[in-house]
């Protein structure tokens, strides 16, 4: 694996919260371009913290993060650069409630990518078509179902043409009948070669869409491996116990 193939390189990340909780404990993970990595683990194991550190929403105490050759350090400029290249999808959607679906997706294209309104509008309509809700373009978030909101949120992140997409339990807040429509969009992205880091409790999806599974606990990696192998022959006792509980 050559260095430029690694689009994400996280080394020895440590993060301790004020209460003394160690969320990341010398956590190291590299992700190849186009790879789909699924992170699983019990509640409080540091999955969200890792994703949030990757785009600078949370500051690491020590270690290093390099994304597509740009080090995520204290320089504000690099931080902004990385955020432009990394899209994030949240459990709670976090759409801007005072903007329509279209405006939500337009915003960063115009403000950050400095596109014209017409230029942005075209990308936005393409993305809405991609996530399958063209007819809801002028609806406000509160007029959409959870699944539709999450699909708008994915389109909003994609509008920045990110090199990496992070998903933090993107389907956990959804009613069961809406989970499928969001997972479908994620599958399409994976098939198109998008680099993705996904935190999820959907083991079926993890197995089928993930290239590599990372099982973490207490801020450390317990076991990682190729998706098929991981689920078929988990090596660690702890992994077997976790999978036994969840499957």
């Amino acid at each position: 694996m050559s260095t430029n193939e690694r689009i994400i390189e996280a080394r020895e990340l440590t993060k301790t919260f004020s209460g003394g909780v160690v969320a990341l404990d010398r956590f190291t993970l590299a992700v190849r371009r186009g790879e789909v990595v699924v992170i699983i683990g019990p509640s409080g194991s540091g999955k969200s913290t890792f994703l949030r550190c990757l785009n600078g929403l949370e500051e690491i105490d020590s270690g290093s993060i390099v994304i597509d050759g740009i080090p995520l350090d204290r320089h504000r400029k690099n931080r902004l650069l990385i955020r432009r290249e990394v899209g994030m999808v949240f459990q709670s959607f976090n759409l801007f409630p005072h903007m329509t679906a279209r405006e939500n997706i337009d915003l960063a294209q115009i403000r950050v990518r400095k596109k014209t309104r017409t230029g942005a509008a075209e990308t936005t309509m393409n993305l809405l078509a991609k996530v399958g809700i063209t007819e809801k373009a002028d609806r406000y978030p509160h007029e959409l179902s959870g699944g539709q909101q999450q699909r708008v949120a994915i389109a909003r992140a994609l509008a920045m043409s990110p090199k990496v997409m992070l998903f933090d339990e993107a389907t956990s807040a959804l009613d069961p009948e809406m989970i499928g429509e969001v997972l479908d969009v994620m599958r399409t992205l994976a098939a198109e070669g998008m680099t993705m880091v996904i935190v999820t409790h959907e083991m079926g999806f993890a197995r089928e869409a993930g290239d590599r599974i990372v099982f973490m606990e207490s801020g450390r990696i317990v076991e990682e491996g190729d998706a098929e192998r991981f689920f078929a022959f988990p090596r660690e006792e702890r992994t077997r116990a976790f999978l036994g509980q969840i499957l």
């Binding site: 902004l80 801007f96 950050v112």
Partner: protein, 276 residues
Amino acid sequence: MNKLFHMPAGVRRTALTDSGKFFLLAGLVVWLLTLGTQGMGYHWQWYRVPRYLFTTAGGVWKAGPLLQGLGTTLEISLLSLLCTLIIGLTAALFRLSDSFTARALARSYLELIRNTPLLIQIFFVYFVVSPVLDIGAFASAVLALSLFEGAYAAEILRAGIVSLHRGQWEAAHSLGLGVFDTYRDVILPQAVRRVLPPLAGQGISLIKDSSLVSTIAIYDLTMQGQKIVAETFLAFEIWFTVAAIYLVITFSLSFAVRALENRMNGLPIRGAGGIA
């Protein structure tokens, strides 16, 4: 039957008794007042008031001193309102800033303003600051009022900003929006809508508080009233008229803001994004 009156019987009855009580009380006050003024031998001379509102000499309509004063009051209030919003927003953002200096600056300003009387602040600006800056009474009045109301507006705006879900910031940051864009496009539009009622209340306070600028020789509504009373001894009539004018202005403002609010309630702002 009119749809408006289709409300539960309980609600209708309380509304009726409430307004009944109100008019009874108002009537009582008026009656006591008339009785009192009769007792002290006061002669009501309402017919002398209109000429202070306006004159129609030779068919030409001309504003009298009271309406001129109202013009000054509105002018000062409007200018101050604008400055209040600018100062308030700046102070709110400073208080929420990452910079220690900015936060300390904002804190000192807020504490200083909110813990001293407005009248003293007006005097301070007029007698101490204005000679230094070489500004007139009018500018001093606007400056003092905006600094005072700005402190309260800042706290209102800050409350609106921090009431927003953290996810709004995170979503904006994850899209690569900077602090400025995030405030302008994401945070402030939502925060301002949330705090519109208290903010409007502050605007109404501003109009009322502006009467204090009469102490630095500005011929606003209050000052004109004072002057007319001194010349004519029509104390009751003039002060009633002045109060009524203030009331009309503040009432129409509250009414306008309520209408605006109702219109905005049609827009989604409460059902915030996702599972806030």
